[in-house]
């Protein structure tokens, strides 16, 4: 084992060690200091993790630990994104989780272990490391969903997530084992060449591809493997929902890119058709069902399904510009979704869950700033200019059109327009409906740090617009070196 081996996984090692440390610390600190120290240490850890990911990043892939993991700018960008968004999650959920007794050492440890899992996923060059990363994340997520043990909805959601996740893992493993049988290698960067090397029937490799694809699609929640998404988003405590709705999407992008675009790139013609179907039905189903929702978390779940469909459009072009646009899309989506859940968290006080859309009626009258932030975020999710969400959609559509699939772009636009309805309904409810009188009304009382971050987050979707082209350049640069 050389220095380089350590450097490649240094952020993971640091975060894992710190997570253990926080767990142990939790035992010995007095109850009053527990929360403060755990919170502060977690944030510092995430910052250090992000910093290390940047400091030791290399533009071209550098392999380490017998080739199980690699380090390139793609993984560096995504690792930083994962760390930062998890940091946002911690800041946003503090008030919420504290009021519900969830703000304890295990929460931080699970979040950090999940971050390690995601980092392993983004950095894996081996089916085995990819799978263990996936499972590490999954286990953390299951637990975080169930964290509120007095809530039957949370337990139910966790149970469903767990059972279905196990099923998907089985399917994924089956596909991986077929891949190994066909190619004799588990290294992702060797898969592409060796899977087309042999002559003979192509059926086995198609089956392997499909099974792997299904496993991946489940993880990001694409139709028809999306059934867990709404129940889990709704059932889990919002502090966990915001976690599982953002950072794992980045890791999901990474494994899709590594496994499909890189590892199975030689079979692109086969998976493109399937991704096309999946993304269009995801867009359709997500956008249409979201309209009928009365729970904002559930609505955002369907919106997540639709957004996954949209970012898959970028992947299925099979070109660098398409991958880059998908990456920019998912990063922007993570930022905007963080903000949206941040507002929900800030509006939920002790004993009040701000999760029904009707709760938001007349929010502009009682809390204009919260309503305004929410408006910006909803506009961005709907893809209305001049928000970065518009840019995200635009760049994906551009890639799709450049790939010669104009009709797909047209369908995507039509479905997005349908989707704009439910985002704008939130805006309508907040701005044009009267204050709800039937219930006590929402209180916008985030902690000071959450308030500052939320303001930055909300304004960023507009203010960042002039520099958003840099993001695409960054993504393109990161992906170009892989192909």
């Amino acid at each position: 084992m050389t220095n380089q081996d350590i450097l490649v996984v240094l952020p993971e090692i640091v975060i894992a060690l710190m997570a253990c440390f926080i767990l142990v610390l939790d035992l010995y600190l007095p109850a009053t200091k527990k929360k403060k120290f755990g919170y502060g240490l977690s944030l510092v850890t995430l910052m250090v993790g992000a910093g290390l990911s940047i400091v030791y990043s290399e533009p071209a892939p550098v392999y380490g630990l017998n080739g199980l993991v690699l380090m390139d700018s793609l993984s560096a960008i995504l690792k930083v994104g994962i760390c930062i968004s998890t940091g946002f999650v911690l800041v946003y959920s503090r008030g919420y989780a504290d009021a519900r007794g969830l703000w304890k050492g295990e929460f931080f440890a699970l979040a950090l272990f999940g971050v390690v899992g995601m980092m392993v996923m983004t950095a894996s060059n081996h089916l085995l490391s990819l799978y263990v990363g996936l499972e590490l994340l999954a286990l953390c997520l299951y637990t975080m969903v169930a964290l509120r043990i007095d809530s039957t909805a949370a337990s139910e959601a966790a149970m469903k997530y767990f059972v279905l996740g196990a099923l998907a893992s089985g399917i994924l493993l089956y596909g991986m084992s077929l891949l190994y049988g066909l190619t004799g290698t588990l290294y992702i960067n060797e898969l592409s060449a060796s899977i087309v090397r042999h002559d003979g029937s192509t059926l086995p490799r198609t089956m392997a591809l499909i099974l792997v694809l299904v496993g991946l699609l489940f993880k990001i929640g694409a139709v028809p493997f999306h059934m867990w998404v709404p129940d889990v988003y709704e059932g889990s405590p919002t502090s966990s929902t915001v976690y599982l709705a953002t950072a794992p999407k980045l890791a999901g992008f990474a494994i899709i890119l590594r496994l499909l675009a890189d590892g199975l790139g030689s079979l692109a013609t086969e998976w493109q058709g399937m991704l096309l179907v999946v993304s269009i039905i995801s867009l359709a189903l997500g956008n249409i069902i979201a309209i009928a929702q009365s729970n904002i978390k559930r609505m955002l779940a369907y919106s997540a399904i639709a957004h996954v469909g949209f970012f898959l459009l970028g992947i299925l072009t099979g070109e660098v510009s398409g991958y880059a646009s998908a990456m920019a899309y998912i990063l922007i989506y993570a930022v905007v979704t963080l903000g949206a859940f941040g507002v929900i968290l800030a509006l939920s006080s002790k004993g009040v869950e701000a999760d029904l859309i009707e709760d938001y009626s007349g929010l502009n009258q009682s809390h204009p700033w919260a309503a305004f932030i929410m408006l910006l975020l909803m506009f961005s999710l709907a893809g209305i200019p001049p928000t970065i969400g518009f840019y995200a959609k635009l760049s994906v559509l551009q890639a799709v059109v450049n790939a010669g699939m104009t009709w797909v772009a047209v369908v995507a636009v039509v479905l997005s327009v349908i989707g704009a309805f439910y985002y704008l309904r939130i805006v309508k409810v907040m701005y044009f409906d009267d204050l709800a009188t039937s219930h006590p009304g929402l209180q916008f009382r985030p902690k000071q740090d959450a308030r500052i971050l939320l303001t930055i987050n909300g304004l960023a979707v507009v203010v960042l617009m002039p520099w958003i082209g840099k993001l695409t350049t960054l993504c393109e640069g990161a992906i170009e070196v892989l192909f």
């Binding site: 089956m207 086969e270 009928a292």
Partner: protein, 643 residues
Amino acid sequence: MKVIYLLVPLACLVAAIIAGFWGAKIGNSATHRITITGVGLSFVLSVVVLFDVLDGHSFNGSIYTWGTSGGVSFEVGFLIDHLSAVMMAVVTFVSLMVHIYTIGYMRDDPGYTRFFCYIALFTFAMLMLVMANNFLQLFFGWEAVGLVSYLLIGFWFKRESAVAANLKAFLVNRVGDLGFILGIAAVMYLFGTLDYSAVFSAASEKQNAVVTGVLGYEWSWITLICLLLFVGAMGKSAQVPLHVWLPDSMEGPTPISALIHAATMVTAGIFLVARMSPLFELSTTASSVILVIGGLTALSMALVGLVQNDIKRVVAYSTLSQLGYMTVALGASAYSVAIFHLATHAFFKALLFLAAGSVIIALHHEQDMRRMGGLRRYMPITYITSVIGSLALAGIPPFSGFFSKDAIIEAVHHSNIPGAGLAYAAVLMGVVVTAFYSFRLIFMVFHGEPRMDKQARSHLKESPWVVTVPLVLLAIPSLLSGGFLVESVLGGHFLGDAVAQGPSAGEGDHLTAVGLMTHGFLAAPLWLALGGVFLAWIFYVRVPSLPGNVSQRLSLIYRILHRKYGFDQFYQWLFASGGVRLGEWLWKRADIALIDGFAVNGTANMVGWFSRVLKRLQTGYVYHYAFVMIIGVVVFLSWGLWS
């Protein structure tokens, strides 16, 4: 020099911005000081540029590249040659006069700073228009002056008639602008560039390019472009039948009528055609159309001017008629003559408008000439300057109008393209009519018995110096500019090589101002003009009862003229109420029934229904979910293994 070019429009823009954003804060007098300084600077620099150009320096280049798309770059650039230098000087001079005059005219208006912002902005836009070296910037200036014109016509936006008038101006200009932008698009399509010089140099090779239009009729591209651009010019320069907005635009404050609707903006169309002269030279068809339209406008609008009683409207119709003269000159390929008339007209027409404004202030916003009379005793400066303006307008030597108008008539006389005969007849008759209505105005306003009420008469006095100084300053070029410039115009070096030289650019034998005047006494136009003046004297001074009798005798003609040939009513019927009816039909049938009922609400309802049905799929049973996943796997496997 580049800096100076840049400073000319920017001085106005900066002044406009300051007046617009901080006008209320810095107060009225600071505002007018700033804008006048800006425009004054522009004027001085324009004169510098003019002399520089006369020295033989010209400039054509881009200042800033806005963007490049598909090999076409969109630039901000200047083309400074004789044509644009003359236009710059005229625009900034008249604008400066109007700025000064406005101090007196608008003194108590609550929109004082807004007004200064608008006129400075207008000057900027107009300068951008004339200095452009490409069609895009031309279009920018074109639309910007249109916008400011719209804003200024409706300056008193609480007056319903002003709002109606600015709407009308806006809509009619839209028709012209449609042609204009189609013309630019055609240029873009044919030449692949928007740069003037590139287009002009490529024009002759494309002369024979044809486009097959409807019914298989083949159009020459150049003719098509010229006609489309001319439609734009017709809108802006108020040629029949797109002239209807200009008389109504007199709802705006009088300085505006002088600046925008007499001296500068309305001549943008003339400028456009002169600027595009290398293109128009290639199309006899287009020149012919221009000639006929110009002739029609010149005569018919002059005739309407005969029966108007509103002092500003008389001047407005005379503007229309004079624009017709310029257009005729363009049609006869005498581009430099057209610009010559444009310049002289700018001076004397601005003078007449400002004089009319002076009268209007003196009479406390009374505009009806039937309630004026005998004012020369009270307002000597206004009277004298008005007479100078009217003599120039009527074309009496040695006033400037004589030279320019005579040159036009000569040019038409020598033109032999189809329609030239008609146009020649029209402009000759127009001379009589012009002389008649301009002196009708002088006699009705300044001579005869005072017809205003006592109270108004008791307040009569000459306007303040800020009003009269511009009058005097404008009277000087009205008097002198014609004789001063005519030699270079007829010698063919007035605009240098900025415009194409037509085949009929004057004769060789009487090329000096004096020669022209002596020649004038032997030619019809002067005598016709003098006859017109004499007739006006008989009608309104000698036998004041005559007008009533004549109008009764010729009641049919009088009524036709009074109704301005029914253009307004026709447009009202066809476009306005027809449009309303069509709109109503479309609204009820298409919008409410089809789009709202079926397409929008229908789709929305369907999506909602769909949504509720699909929502049921989410049963909440984990084995259902798992089953859906398995089915997904099976479907994908079947598909993948099948194909």
